[in-house]
Amino acid sequence: MTINGAGLLKRYGFMTALLLPAIFLLIVDERFRSAQNLSNVLAQSSIVGIVAIGMTLVMILGGFDLSVGAIAALSGLCAVVAFGHGDPLHMALGVGAAIGCGIAIGLVNGVLISRLAINPLIATLAMASIVRGVVLIASEGTIYRAQGDAAAITIIALGRWHVFPIAGFFFIGSIILGWFILKRMRFGHYIYAIGGSETASTLAGLPVSRMVIVTYAIVGGFAGVAGLLLLARTGSALTNAGVGLELEAITATVIGGTRLGGGEGAISGTVLGVLLLGVIRNGLNLNGVSPFWQPFIIGCILLITVVVSRRADSGGRRSRAGFL
Protein backbone atom coordinates (compact mmCIF):
# COMPACT_ATOMS: atom_id res chain seq x y z
CA MET A 1 0.00 0.00 0.00
CA THR A 2 1.39 3.42 -0.94
CA ILE A 3 0.84 6.55 1.09
CA ASN A 4 -0.11 9.51 -1.04
CA GLY A 5 0.94 12.70 0.84
CA ALA A 6 -1.24 15.02 -1.27
CA GLY A 7 -4.20 12.74 -0.82
CA LEU A 8 -3.72 12.59 2.93
CA LEU A 9 -3.41 16.37 3.09
CA LYS A 10 -6.59 16.80 1.08
CA ARG A 11 -8.45 14.29 3.18
CA TYR A 12 -7.31 15.29 6.64
CA GLY A 13 -5.83 18.77 6.13
CA PHE A 14 -9.25 20.41 6.33
CA MET A 15 -10.09 18.76 9.62
CA THR A 16 -6.61 19.33 11.04
CA ALA A 17 -6.86 23.04 10.22
CA LEU A 18 -10.10 23.25 12.19
CA LEU A 19 -8.33 21.67 15.14
CA LEU A 20 -5.35 24.07 15.02
CA PRO A 21 -6.62 26.50 17.71
CA ALA A 22 -7.37 23.56 20.03
CA ILE A 23 -3.97 21.97 19.36
CA PHE A 24 -2.26 25.30 20.03
CA LEU A 25 -4.10 25.78 23.33
CA LEU A 26 -3.46 22.16 24.36
CA ILE A 27 0.26 22.76 23.97
CA VAL A 28 0.62 26.22 25.51
CA ASP A 29 -2.12 26.48 28.14
CA GLU A 30 -2.07 24.16 31.12
CA ARG A 31 -5.46 25.39 32.34
CA PHE A 32 -7.02 24.65 28.96
CA ARG A 33 -5.89 21.02 28.91
CA SER A 34 -7.16 20.23 32.41
CA ALA A 35 -9.81 17.53 32.36
CA GLN A 36 -12.24 19.81 34.19
CA ASN A 37 -11.88 22.55 31.57
CA LEU A 38 -12.19 20.19 28.61
CA SER A 39 -15.29 18.79 30.26
CA ASN A 40 -16.68 22.34 30.58
CA VAL A 41 -15.95 23.10 26.93
CA LEU A 42 -17.80 19.97 25.84
CA ALA A 43 -20.77 20.75 28.09
CA GLN A 44 -20.90 24.38 26.94
CA SER A 45 -20.67 23.35 23.28
CA SER A 46 -23.32 20.65 23.56
CA ILE A 47 -26.35 22.92 23.13
CA VAL A 48 -25.01 24.60 19.98
CA GLY A 49 -23.73 21.19 18.87
CA ILE A 50 -27.12 19.48 19.07
CA VAL A 51 -28.77 22.27 17.09
CA ALA A 52 -25.88 22.30 14.58
CA ILE A 53 -26.34 18.58 13.89
CA GLY A 54 -29.95 19.27 12.93
CA MET A 55 -28.88 22.33 10.97
CA THR A 56 -26.41 20.18 9.02
CA LEU A 57 -29.24 17.95 7.78
CA VAL A 58 -31.38 20.86 6.67
CA MET A 59 -28.47 22.73 5.07
CA ILE A 60 -27.37 19.67 3.10
CA LEU A 61 -30.97 19.56 1.94
CA GLY A 62 -30.46 23.11 0.66
CA GLY A 63 -32.41 24.94 3.36
CA PHE A 64 -31.98 26.95 6.54
CA ASP A 65 -33.73 27.07 9.85
CA LEU A 66 -33.65 30.40 11.64
CA SER A 67 -36.33 29.38 14.13
CA VAL A 68 -34.26 26.89 16.15
CA GLY A 69 -33.36 29.39 18.90
CA ALA A 70 -37.00 30.36 19.35
CA ILE A 71 -38.05 26.69 19.28
CA ALA A 72 -35.53 25.97 22.03
CA ALA A 73 -37.00 28.77 24.15
CA LEU A 74 -40.58 27.50 23.70
CA SER A 75 -39.55 23.89 24.29
CA GLY A 76 -37.92 24.87 27.58
CA LEU A 77 -41.06 26.72 28.63
CA CYS A 78 -43.33 23.78 27.70
CA ALA A 79 -41.07 21.44 29.64
CA VAL A 80 -40.91 23.50 32.82
CA VAL A 81 -44.70 23.95 32.83
CA ALA A 82 -45.25 20.22 32.30
CA PHE A 83 -42.69 19.30 34.99
CA GLY A 84 -44.92 20.70 37.74
CA HIS A 85 -43.26 19.81 41.01
CA GLY A 86 -41.17 17.10 39.46
CA ASP A 87 -42.86 13.71 39.93
CA PRO A 88 -41.48 11.16 37.46
CA LEU A 89 -44.60 11.07 35.27
CA HIS A 90 -44.64 14.84 34.86
CA MET A 91 -40.89 14.91 34.25
CA ALA A 92 -41.33 12.39 31.43
CA LEU A 93 -44.24 14.44 30.11
CA GLY A 94 -42.06 17.55 30.19
CA VAL A 95 -39.29 15.90 28.20
CA GLY A 96 -41.87 14.68 25.69
CA ALA A 97 -43.47 18.13 25.55
CA ALA A 98 -40.13 19.81 24.81
CA ILE A 99 -39.22 17.45 21.99
CA GLY A 100 -42.80 17.20 20.71
CA CYS A 101 -43.13 20.97 20.60
CA GLY A 102 -39.93 21.20 18.54
CA ILE A 103 -41.07 18.50 16.12
CA ALA A 104 -44.49 20.12 15.72
CA ILE A 105 -43.04 23.54 14.86
CA GLY A 106 -40.52 21.89 12.54
CA LEU A 107 -43.40 20.14 10.74
CA VAL A 108 -45.13 23.47 10.22
CA ASN A 109 -41.87 24.94 8.87
CA GLY A 110 -41.58 22.01 6.49
CA VAL A 111 -45.14 22.42 5.25
CA LEU A 112 -44.67 26.16 4.71
CA ILE A 113 -41.51 25.54 2.71
CA SER A 114 -42.47 22.48 0.70
CA ARG A 115 -46.21 22.88 0.20
CA LEU A 116 -46.60 26.66 0.17
CA ALA A 117 -43.24 27.17 -1.58
CA ILE A 118 -42.11 29.88 0.84
CA ASN A 119 -38.40 30.56 0.87
CA PRO A 120 -36.87 28.82 3.95
CA LEU A 121 -35.23 32.05 5.05
CA ILE A 122 -38.56 33.89 5.19
CA ALA A 123 -40.60 30.95 6.50
CA THR A 124 -38.30 30.16 9.41
CA LEU A 125 -37.62 33.84 10.19
CA ALA A 126 -41.35 34.46 10.41
CA MET A 127 -41.75 31.30 12.49
CA ALA A 128 -38.96 32.47 14.83
CA SER A 129 -40.82 35.72 15.38
CA ILE A 130 -44.14 33.94 15.95
CA VAL A 131 -42.61 31.46 18.39
CA ARG A 132 -40.75 34.19 20.32
CA GLY A 133 -44.08 36.01 20.52
CA VAL A 134 -45.79 32.89 21.85
CA VAL A 135 -43.05 32.54 24.50
CA LEU A 136 -43.56 36.14 25.62
CA ILE A 137 -47.35 35.91 25.59
CA ALA A 138 -47.46 32.54 27.38
CA SER A 139 -44.90 33.48 30.01
CA GLU A 140 -46.05 37.11 30.28
CA GLY A 141 -42.36 37.88 30.05
CA THR A 142 -41.60 36.36 33.43
CA ILE A 143 -39.08 33.66 34.19
CA TYR A 144 -40.48 30.19 34.91
CA ARG A 145 -38.31 28.28 37.36
CA ALA A 146 -38.26 24.53 37.82
CA GLN A 147 -40.18 23.90 41.05
CA GLY A 148 -39.55 21.35 43.81
CA ASP A 149 -38.02 18.08 42.62
CA ALA A 150 -38.10 19.37 39.03
CA ALA A 151 -35.05 21.48 39.89
CA ALA A 152 -33.09 18.22 39.59
CA ILE A 153 -33.32 18.70 35.81
CA THR A 154 -30.12 20.75 36.12
CA ILE A 155 -28.24 17.45 36.41
CA ILE A 156 -28.53 16.87 32.65
CA ALA A 157 -26.72 20.12 31.87
CA LEU A 158 -24.43 20.58 34.85
CA GLY A 159 -23.90 17.02 36.08
CA ARG A 160 -20.97 14.75 35.31
CA TRP A 161 -20.34 11.05 35.08
CA HIS A 162 -16.84 10.90 36.52
CA VAL A 163 -15.33 13.82 34.62
CA PHE A 164 -17.50 13.48 31.52
CA PRO A 165 -20.36 16.00 31.27
CA ILE A 166 -23.84 14.51 31.01
CA ALA A 167 -24.74 17.19 28.44
CA GLY A 168 -21.94 15.69 26.33
CA PHE A 169 -23.87 12.40 26.13
CA PHE A 170 -26.77 14.25 24.52
CA PHE A 171 -24.36 15.80 22.03
CA ILE A 172 -22.77 12.44 21.25
CA GLY A 173 -26.21 10.87 20.91
CA SER A 174 -27.13 13.59 18.42
CA ILE A 175 -23.90 13.03 16.50
CA ILE A 176 -24.60 9.30 16.24
CA LEU A 177 -28.20 9.92 15.20
CA GLY A 178 -27.18 12.53 12.60
CA TRP A 179 -24.43 10.31 11.23
CA PHE A 180 -26.78 7.31 11.11
CA ILE A 181 -29.44 9.29 9.24
CA LEU A 182 -26.98 10.67 6.69
CA LYS A 183 -24.77 7.64 6.16
CA ARG A 184 -26.85 4.59 6.95
CA MET A 185 -30.38 5.47 5.94
CA ARG A 186 -31.83 5.88 2.48
CA PHE A 187 -33.45 9.00 3.89
CA GLY A 188 -29.97 10.53 4.33
CA HIS A 189 -28.97 9.70 0.77
CA TYR A 190 -32.15 11.42 -0.41
CA ILE A 191 -31.20 14.51 1.60
CA TYR A 192 -27.89 14.73 -0.28
CA ALA A 193 -29.65 14.10 -3.59
CA ILE A 194 -32.30 16.78 -3.05
CA GLY A 195 -29.67 19.27 -1.87
CA GLY A 196 -27.57 18.51 -4.93
CA SER A 197 -30.43 19.01 -7.37
CA GLU A 198 -34.05 19.28 -6.39
CA THR A 199 -35.15 19.12 -10.03
CA ALA A 200 -33.21 15.93 -10.72
CA SER A 201 -34.52 14.40 -7.49
CA THR A 202 -38.10 15.21 -8.44
CA LEU A 203 -37.59 13.72 -11.89
CA ALA A 204 -36.05 10.64 -10.28
CA GLY A 205 -39.27 10.20 -8.31
CA LEU A 206 -37.97 11.06 -4.85
CA PRO A 207 -40.65 12.22 -2.39
CA VAL A 208 -39.12 15.69 -2.16
CA SER A 209 -41.96 17.41 -0.37
CA ARG A 210 -42.25 14.70 2.30
CA MET A 211 -38.47 14.69 2.75
CA VAL A 212 -38.42 18.44 3.36
CA ILE A 213 -41.22 18.22 5.93
CA VAL A 214 -39.59 15.33 7.80
CA THR A 215 -36.15 16.98 7.77
CA TYR A 216 -37.47 20.22 9.25
CA ALA A 217 -39.36 18.17 11.85
CA ILE A 218 -36.08 16.44 12.78
CA VAL A 219 -34.34 19.81 13.12
CA GLY A 220 -37.20 20.96 15.34
CA GLY A 221 -36.75 17.84 17.47
CA PHE A 222 -33.04 18.58 17.90
CA ALA A 223 -33.92 22.17 18.85
CA GLY A 224 -36.38 20.78 21.41
CA VAL A 225 -33.60 18.75 23.04
CA ALA A 226 -31.38 21.85 23.02
CA GLY A 227 -34.21 23.76 24.72
CA LEU A 228 -34.35 21.13 27.44
CA LEU A 229 -30.61 21.53 28.04
CA LEU A 230 -30.89 25.33 28.06
CA LEU A 231 -33.60 25.03 30.70
CA ALA A 232 -31.39 22.64 32.66
CA ARG A 233 -28.37 24.97 32.60
CA THR A 234 -30.12 27.70 34.55
CA GLY A 235 -33.01 25.75 36.12
CA SER A 236 -35.30 28.32 34.49
CA ALA A 237 -37.13 28.87 31.22
CA LEU A 238 -35.86 32.28 30.16
CA THR A 239 -37.70 34.35 27.58
CA ASN A 240 -34.35 35.17 25.97
CA ALA A 241 -33.15 31.55 25.91
CA GLY A 242 -31.54 30.53 22.65
CA VAL A 243 -31.12 34.04 21.26
CA GLY A 244 -28.40 33.85 18.59
CA LEU A 245 -28.38 30.03 18.76
CA GLU A 246 -29.41 29.71 15.10
CA LEU A 247 -26.51 31.85 13.89
CA GLU A 248 -23.98 29.99 16.04
CA ALA A 249 -25.30 26.68 14.68
CA ILE A 250 -25.19 27.90 11.07
CA THR A 251 -21.68 29.29 11.60
CA ALA A 252 -20.44 25.99 13.03
CA THR A 253 -22.09 24.05 10.22
CA VAL A 254 -20.62 26.22 7.46
CA ILE A 255 -17.17 26.23 9.09
CA GLY A 256 -17.44 22.46 9.16
CA GLY A 257 -17.69 22.37 5.38
CA THR A 258 -21.41 22.12 4.73
CA ARG A 259 -22.17 23.85 1.46
CA LEU A 260 -24.55 26.82 1.73
CA GLY A 261 -26.42 25.80 -1.41
CA GLY A 262 -26.92 22.21 -0.22
CA GLY A 263 -25.76 18.80 -1.44
CA GLU A 264 -22.49 18.66 0.50
CA GLY A 265 -21.59 18.35 4.15
CA ALA A 266 -20.81 15.92 6.92
CA ILE A 267 -21.55 15.54 10.62
CA SER A 268 -17.82 15.21 11.41
CA GLY A 269 -17.10 18.67 9.97
CA THR A 270 -19.96 20.21 11.92
CA VAL A 271 -18.70 18.65 15.17
CA LEU A 272 -15.28 20.18 14.54
CA GLY A 273 -16.90 23.52 13.72
CA VAL A 274 -18.84 23.45 17.00
CA LEU A 275 -15.76 22.52 19.00
CA LEU A 276 -13.71 25.20 17.23
CA LEU A 277 -16.18 27.90 18.30
CA GLY A 278 -16.28 26.53 21.87
CA VAL A 279 -12.50 26.28 22.11
CA ILE A 280 -11.90 29.82 20.84
CA ARG A 281 -14.40 31.34 23.28
CA ASN A 282 -13.01 29.27 26.16
CA GLY A 283 -9.42 30.13 25.26
CA LEU A 284 -10.20 33.85 25.22
CA ASN A 285 -11.98 33.67 28.58
CA LEU A 286 -9.18 31.65 30.15
CA ASN A 287 -6.68 34.28 29.05
CA GLY A 288 -8.78 37.16 30.33
CA VAL A 289 -9.28 38.82 26.95
CA SER A 290 -11.49 41.93 27.26
CA PRO A 291 -15.12 41.56 26.08
CA PHE A 292 -14.43 44.50 23.75
CA TRP A 293 -11.66 42.54 21.99
CA GLN A 294 -13.33 39.14 21.92
CA PRO A 295 -15.62 39.63 18.87
CA PHE A 296 -12.69 41.00 16.84
CA ILE A 297 -10.35 38.16 17.78
CA ILE A 298 -13.01 35.48 17.26
CA GLY A 299 -13.68 36.86 13.77
CA CYS A 300 -9.97 36.87 12.87
CA ILE A 301 -9.35 33.33 14.16
CA LEU A 302 -12.42 32.03 12.33
CA LEU A 303 -11.35 33.64 9.06
CA ILE A 304 -7.79 32.36 9.29
CA THR A 305 -8.90 28.85 10.25
CA VAL A 306 -11.48 28.63 7.51
CA VAL A 307 -9.10 30.00 4.85
CA VAL A 308 -6.46 27.41 5.84
CA SER A 309 -8.99 24.58 5.94
CA ARG A 310 -10.59 25.54 2.61
CA ARG A 311 -7.21 25.68 0.89
CA ALA A 312 -6.45 22.22 2.22
CA ASP A 313 -9.86 20.96 1.13
CA SER A 314 -10.54 22.60 -2.23
CA GLY A 315 -7.26 21.78 -3.99
CA GLY A 316 -7.39 25.08 -5.85
CA ARG A 317 -11.08 25.03 -6.84
CA ARG A 318 -12.62 28.41 -6.20
CA SER A 319 -16.00 30.02 -6.51
CA ARG A 320 -15.99 33.80 -6.78
CA ALA A 321 -19.54 33.86 -5.41
CA GLY A 322 -18.49 31.87 -2.35
CA PHE A 323 -20.85 28.96 -2.81
CA LEU A 324 -18.27 26.30 -3.52
Binding site: R31, Q36, N37, I143, V243, L286, P291
Partner: protein, 324 residues
Protein backbone atom coordinates in the same frame (compact mmCIF):
# COMPACT_ATOMS: atom_id res chain seq x y z
CA UNK B 1 -25.88 28.86 -7.58
CA UNK B 2 -28.11 31.76 -6.57
CA UNK B 3 -31.78 30.89 -6.64
CA UNK B 4 -33.22 34.01 -8.31
CA UNK B 5 -36.75 32.62 -8.32
CA UNK B 6 -36.60 32.17 -4.54
CA UNK B 7 -35.26 35.70 -4.12
CA UNK B 8 -38.06 37.09 -6.33
CA UNK B 9 -40.64 35.14 -4.32
CA UNK B 10 -39.25 36.34 -1.02
CA UNK B 11 -39.27 39.97 -2.24
CA UNK B 12 -42.91 39.65 -3.26
CA UNK B 13 -43.73 38.06 0.07
CA UNK B 14 -41.82 40.76 1.93
CA UNK B 15 -43.73 43.47 0.05
CA UNK B 16 -47.04 41.77 0.89
CA UNK B 17 -46.04 41.48 4.53
CA UNK B 18 -45.08 45.17 4.59
CA UNK B 19 -48.49 46.09 3.18
CA UNK B 20 -50.25 43.99 5.82
CA UNK B 21 -48.09 45.43 8.60
CA UNK B 22 -48.64 48.96 7.26
CA UNK B 23 -52.40 48.46 7.19
CA UNK B 24 -52.31 47.00 10.69
CA UNK B 25 -50.25 49.93 11.96
CA UNK B 26 -52.71 52.37 10.39
CA UNK B 27 -55.62 50.62 12.10
CA UNK B 28 -53.73 50.56 15.39
CA UNK B 29 -52.98 54.28 15.13
CA UNK B 30 -56.56 55.15 14.30
CA UNK B 31 -57.70 53.17 17.34
CA UNK B 32 -55.96 55.67 19.64
CA UNK B 33 -58.53 58.25 20.41
CA UNK B 34 -57.40 59.40 23.86
CA UNK B 35 -56.37 63.01 24.33
CA UNK B 36 -52.84 62.16 25.36
CA UNK B 37 -50.59 59.54 23.73
CA UNK B 38 -47.08 58.60 24.81
CA UNK B 39 -44.64 56.79 22.52
CA UNK B 40 -42.20 54.56 24.38
CA UNK B 41 -39.08 53.00 22.89
CA UNK B 42 -37.66 50.43 25.30
CA UNK B 43 -34.43 48.44 24.94
CA UNK B 44 -35.47 44.89 24.07
CA UNK B 45 -38.68 43.32 25.28
CA UNK B 46 -37.69 39.70 24.67
CA UNK B 47 -34.05 39.87 25.76
CA UNK B 48 -34.00 42.21 28.71
CA UNK B 49 -35.82 40.75 31.71
CA UNK B 50 -36.38 44.21 33.21
CA UNK B 51 -38.46 45.38 30.25
CA UNK B 52 -41.52 43.34 31.10
CA UNK B 53 -42.15 44.67 34.64
CA UNK B 54 -41.40 48.18 33.39
CA UNK B 55 -44.05 47.84 30.68
CA UNK B 56 -46.48 46.34 33.20
CA UNK B 57 -45.91 49.36 35.46
CA UNK B 58 -46.39 51.77 32.55
CA UNK B 59 -49.63 50.05 31.53
CA UNK B 60 -50.96 50.31 35.09
CA UNK B 61 -50.13 54.00 35.30
CA UNK B 62 -51.53 54.68 31.82
CA UNK B 63 -54.80 52.99 32.73
CA UNK B 64 -55.05 54.93 35.97
CA UNK B 65 -54.34 58.25 34.24
CA UNK B 66 -56.50 57.43 31.20
CA UNK B 67 -53.72 57.99 28.66
CA UNK B 68 -52.59 55.81 25.76
CA UNK B 69 -49.13 54.37 25.44
CA UNK B 70 -47.54 52.91 22.32
CA UNK B 71 -44.56 50.66 23.03
CA UNK B 72 -41.90 50.01 20.39
CA UNK B 73 -39.19 47.39 20.73
CA UNK B 74 -35.89 48.28 18.98
CA UNK B 75 -34.39 44.91 19.98
CA UNK B 76 -31.23 46.38 21.41
CA UNK B 77 -30.37 48.07 18.14
CA UNK B 78 -29.53 51.77 18.54
CA UNK B 79 -30.34 52.54 14.90
CA UNK B 80 -33.75 50.84 15.25
CA UNK B 81 -34.37 53.03 18.29
CA UNK B 82 -33.67 56.10 16.15
CA UNK B 83 -36.32 54.83 13.71
CA UNK B 84 -38.76 54.25 16.61
CA UNK B 85 -38.46 57.91 17.58
CA UNK B 86 -38.92 59.13 14.00
CA UNK B 87 -41.94 56.87 13.68
CA UNK B 88 -43.48 58.36 16.84
CA UNK B 89 -43.02 61.86 15.40
CA UNK B 90 -44.76 60.78 12.19
CA UNK B 91 -47.61 59.35 14.24
CA UNK B 92 -48.01 62.65 16.10
CA UNK B 93 -47.70 61.29 19.62
CA UNK B 94 -47.87 63.93 22.35
CA UNK B 95 -44.63 62.92 24.09
CA UNK B 96 -41.90 60.28 23.87
CA UNK B 97 -40.07 58.35 26.57
CA UNK B 98 -36.81 56.75 25.47
CA UNK B 99 -35.13 53.94 27.40
CA UNK B 100 -31.83 54.50 25.61
CA UNK B 101 -29.77 51.67 24.17
CA UNK B 102 -27.03 54.23 23.80
CA UNK B 103 -27.36 57.66 25.38
CA UNK B 104 -25.20 59.30 22.71
CA UNK B 105 -26.36 57.45 19.59
CA UNK B 106 -29.98 58.41 20.15
CA UNK B 107 -29.36 62.20 20.36
CA UNK B 108 -29.82 63.17 16.66
CA UNK B 109 -33.29 61.58 16.52
CA UNK B 110 -34.25 63.32 19.76
CA UNK B 111 -33.24 66.69 18.31
CA UNK B 112 -35.42 65.93 15.27
CA UNK B 113 -38.37 65.13 17.54
CA UNK B 114 -37.89 68.31 19.55
CA UNK B 115 -37.72 70.37 16.34
CA UNK B 116 -41.01 68.78 15.33
CA UNK B 117 -42.47 69.91 18.66
CA UNK B 118 -42.65 66.49 20.30
CA UNK B 119 -41.17 66.55 23.82
CA UNK B 120 -38.86 63.70 24.81
CA UNK B 121 -37.66 62.43 28.19
CA UNK B 122 -34.96 59.88 28.96
CA UNK B 123 -35.92 56.91 31.10
CA UNK B 124 -33.50 54.64 33.00
CA UNK B 125 -30.59 56.03 31.00
CA UNK B 126 -29.55 59.68 31.28
CA UNK B 127 -29.54 61.50 27.91
CA UNK B 128 -27.65 64.80 27.87
CA UNK B 129 -29.95 67.84 27.93
CA UNK B 130 -33.19 65.92 28.54
CA UNK B 131 -35.33 65.57 31.65
CA UNK B 132 -34.50 62.18 33.08
CA UNK B 133 -36.57 59.65 35.02
CA UNK B 134 -34.78 56.82 36.72
CA UNK B 135 -31.60 56.22 38.59
CA UNK B 136 -28.35 57.46 37.15
CA UNK B 137 -26.38 54.48 35.79
CA UNK B 138 -23.15 56.11 36.95
CA UNK B 139 -24.48 56.43 40.51
CA UNK B 140 -25.98 52.95 40.23
CA UNK B 141 -22.50 51.58 39.52
CA UNK B 142 -21.11 53.50 42.49
CA UNK B 143 -23.73 52.08 44.87
CA UNK B 144 -23.01 48.56 43.66
CA UNK B 145 -19.27 49.12 44.10
CA UNK B 146 -19.83 50.24 47.70
CA UNK B 147 -21.86 47.07 48.29
CA UNK B 148 -18.99 45.00 46.89
CA UNK B 149 -16.48 46.77 49.13
CA UNK B 150 -18.72 46.07 52.14
CA UNK B 151 -18.91 42.40 51.14
CA UNK B 152 -15.10 42.26 50.89
CA UNK B 153 -14.38 44.13 54.12
CA UNK B 154 -13.07 41.09 55.98
CA UNK B 155 -10.73 39.99 53.18
CA UNK B 156 -7.19 41.29 53.47
CA UNK B 157 -4.76 42.04 50.66
CA UNK B 158 -5.36 42.32 46.91
CA UNK B 159 -8.81 41.36 45.71
CA UNK B 160 -10.01 39.97 42.40
CA UNK B 161 -13.59 40.48 41.23
CA UNK B 162 -15.24 38.63 38.35
CA UNK B 163 -17.85 40.88 36.71
CA UNK B 164 -20.68 39.72 34.43
CA UNK B 165 -21.08 42.56 31.96
CA UNK B 166 -24.16 43.53 29.97
CA UNK B 167 -23.98 44.14 26.24
CA UNK B 168 -20.50 45.45 25.51
CA UNK B 169 -20.60 49.03 24.26
CA UNK B 170 -24.13 49.87 25.49
CA UNK B 171 -24.36 52.86 27.81
CA UNK B 172 -25.88 51.02 30.84
CA UNK B 173 -22.87 48.70 30.83
CA UNK B 174 -20.40 51.52 30.18
CA UNK B 175 -21.70 53.96 32.81
CA UNK B 176 -22.20 51.35 35.53
CA UNK B 177 -18.64 50.17 34.94
CA UNK B 178 -17.35 53.76 35.13
CA UNK B 179 -19.18 54.30 38.44
CA UNK B 180 -17.71 51.13 39.92
CA UNK B 181 -14.18 52.02 38.84
CA UNK B 182 -14.50 55.49 40.42
CA UNK B 183 -15.43 54.03 43.80
CA UNK B 184 -12.75 51.33 43.70
CA UNK B 185 -10.10 53.90 42.80
CA UNK B 186 -11.22 56.26 45.56
CA UNK B 187 -11.22 53.42 48.11
CA UNK B 188 -7.51 52.81 47.57
CA UNK B 189 -8.14 49.05 47.65
CA UNK B 190 -6.03 46.84 45.41
CA UNK B 191 -8.81 45.48 43.20
CA UNK B 192 -8.56 43.73 39.84
CA UNK B 193 -11.73 43.35 37.76
CA UNK B 194 -12.02 40.37 35.42
CA UNK B 195 -14.79 41.16 32.95
CA UNK B 196 -16.96 38.35 31.61
CA UNK B 197 -19.12 38.79 28.51
CA UNK B 198 -22.67 37.86 29.47
CA UNK B 199 -24.99 40.01 27.30
CA UNK B 200 -27.49 40.10 30.22
CA UNK B 201 -27.98 36.33 29.77
CA UNK B 202 -27.85 33.95 32.79
CA UNK B 203 -26.78 31.10 30.50
CA UNK B 204 -23.84 33.08 29.07
CA UNK B 205 -22.95 34.30 32.56
CA UNK B 206 -22.72 30.68 33.74
CA UNK B 207 -20.46 29.79 30.82
CA UNK B 208 -18.23 32.76 31.69
CA UNK B 209 -18.20 31.77 35.36
CA UNK B 210 -17.17 28.19 34.55
CA UNK B 211 -14.26 29.57 32.51
CA UNK B 212 -13.39 32.00 35.30
CA UNK B 213 -13.09 29.13 37.81
CA UNK B 214 -10.74 27.34 35.42
CA UNK B 215 -8.66 30.49 35.17
CA UNK B 216 -8.54 30.93 38.92
CA UNK B 217 -8.76 27.35 40.18
CA UNK B 218 -7.53 27.84 43.73
CA UNK B 219 -9.52 29.02 46.70
CA UNK B 220 -8.63 32.63 47.39
CA UNK B 221 -7.80 33.42 43.74
CA UNK B 222 -11.21 34.97 43.15
CA UNK B 223 -12.90 36.69 46.05
CA UNK B 224 -16.12 38.05 44.59
CA UNK B 225 -18.30 37.65 41.53
CA UNK B 226 -20.73 40.44 40.64
CA UNK B 227 -23.29 40.94 37.93
CA UNK B 228 -24.53 44.08 36.19
CA UNK B 229 -28.00 42.65 35.70
CA UNK B 230 -30.60 40.51 37.41
CA UNK B 231 -30.99 36.70 37.37
CA UNK B 232 -27.43 36.20 36.13
CA UNK B 233 -25.91 35.15 39.46
CA UNK B 234 -28.01 32.23 40.84
CA UNK B 235 -26.87 29.57 38.31
CA UNK B 236 -23.26 30.48 39.12
CA UNK B 237 -23.91 30.20 42.85
CA UNK B 238 -25.16 26.63 42.28
CA UNK B 239 -22.12 25.83 40.14
CA UNK B 240 -19.74 27.25 42.78
CA UNK B 241 -21.39 25.11 45.47
CA UNK B 242 -21.21 21.97 43.32
CA UNK B 243 -17.51 22.56 42.68
CA UNK B 244 -16.39 23.35 46.20
CA UNK B 245 -15.97 27.09 45.62
CA UNK B 246 -18.50 28.31 48.15
CA UNK B 247 -15.93 30.77 49.51
CA UNK B 248 -16.74 33.12 46.61
CA UNK B 249 -18.98 36.05 47.53
CA UNK B 250 -21.68 37.15 45.09
CA UNK B 251 -23.42 40.49 44.55
CA UNK B 252 -25.66 41.80 41.79
CA UNK B 253 -27.56 44.77 40.38
CA UNK B 254 -31.31 44.70 39.63
CA UNK B 255 -33.56 42.05 41.03
CA UNK B 256 -35.51 38.97 40.02
CA UNK B 257 -37.22 36.40 42.23
CA UNK B 258 -34.30 33.97 42.18
CA UNK B 259 -32.01 36.79 43.34
CA UNK B 260 -34.38 37.52 46.24
CA UNK B 261 -34.42 33.85 47.23
CA UNK B 262 -30.62 33.73 47.13
CA UNK B 263 -30.33 36.81 49.36
CA UNK B 264 -32.74 35.23 51.83
CA UNK B 265 -30.67 32.02 51.88
CA UNK B 266 -27.50 34.03 52.30
CA UNK B 267 -25.83 32.63 49.18
CA UNK B 268 -26.06 36.05 47.48
CA UNK B 269 -24.45 38.70 49.68
CA UNK B 270 -26.53 41.58 48.41
CA UNK B 271 -28.30 43.39 45.61
CA UNK B 272 -28.33 47.05 44.57
CA UNK B 273 -31.54 47.64 42.66
CA UNK B 274 -34.16 50.01 41.40
CA UNK B 275 -37.76 48.81 41.47
CA UNK B 276 -38.32 48.59 37.74
CA UNK B 277 -42.09 48.12 38.04
CA UNK B 278 -42.34 51.37 40.00
CA UNK B 279 -40.00 53.01 37.49
CA UNK B 280 -42.42 52.13 34.69
CA UNK B 281 -45.23 53.83 36.61
CA UNK B 282 -43.00 56.80 37.35
CA UNK B 283 -42.19 57.39 33.66
CA UNK B 284 -45.88 57.65 32.69
CA UNK B 285 -46.87 59.67 35.76
CA UNK B 286 -44.02 62.10 35.14
CA UNK B 287 -45.05 62.75 31.54
CA UNK B 288 -48.68 63.20 32.56
CA UNK B 289 -47.67 65.69 35.28
CA UNK B 290 -45.41 67.58 32.85
CA UNK B 291 -48.25 67.72 30.31
CA UNK B 292 -50.65 69.10 32.91
CA UNK B 293 -48.08 71.67 34.03
CA UNK B 294 -47.37 72.61 30.40
CA UNK B 295 -43.64 72.33 31.12
CA UNK B 296 -41.56 69.52 29.64
CA UNK B 297 -38.27 70.95 30.89
CA UNK B 298 -38.73 70.62 34.64
CA UNK B 299 -39.18 67.30 36.38
CA UNK B 300 -42.00 67.19 38.94
CA UNK B 301 -40.77 66.87 42.51
CA UNK B 302 -41.95 63.25 42.90
CA UNK B 303 -39.81 62.12 39.95
CA UNK B 304 -36.51 63.45 41.24
CA UNK B 305 -33.86 61.11 42.62
CA UNK B 306 -35.73 57.79 42.77
CA UNK B 307 -34.06 55.49 45.26
CA UNK B 308 -31.37 52.92 44.58
CA UNK B 309 -32.21 50.26 47.15
CA UNK B 310 -29.63 47.98 48.71
CA UNK B 311 -30.75 44.62 50.06
CA UNK B 312 -28.65 42.15 52.01
CA UNK B 313 -29.62 39.33 54.35
CA UNK B 314 -29.47 41.85 57.21
CA UNK B 315 -31.79 44.25 55.37
CA UNK B 316 -33.93 41.62 53.66
CA UNK B 317 -37.12 43.63 54.21
CA UNK B 318 -35.87 45.94 51.43
CA UNK B 319 -36.36 43.28 48.78
CA UNK B 320 -38.94 40.96 50.34
CA UNK B 321 -41.82 40.39 47.93
CA UNK B 322 -40.08 42.26 45.11
CA UNK B 323 -38.52 40.93 41.92
CA UNK B 324 -40.32 39.19 39.09
Amino acid sequence: MLNFEAIRQSRTLARSMMLVVGAWMGLAASAYSADYTIGISIWDVSNNPSSVPIIAGMNEAAKAADVKIIVSDPKWDASAQVENIRDFVTRHVDAIAVFPIDVVGVEPAIHEAEKAGVPVIGALGKIEGLPYVGVDDLEYGRVHARLMLEALKNIKGPKRIGLFRGTAGGSPDRLRMQGMQEVFKASGADITIESVTADWSPEKALTGFQDLLQRFPNKGDLQLVASMGNCMIPPSIDWAEQNGRDEIIFTTMDLCKSDVDAVQKGTLYGVAFQDVHDMGKLVVNTLVAMHKAGDYHTLPEFARNPPIIVCTKATFENCKGRGF
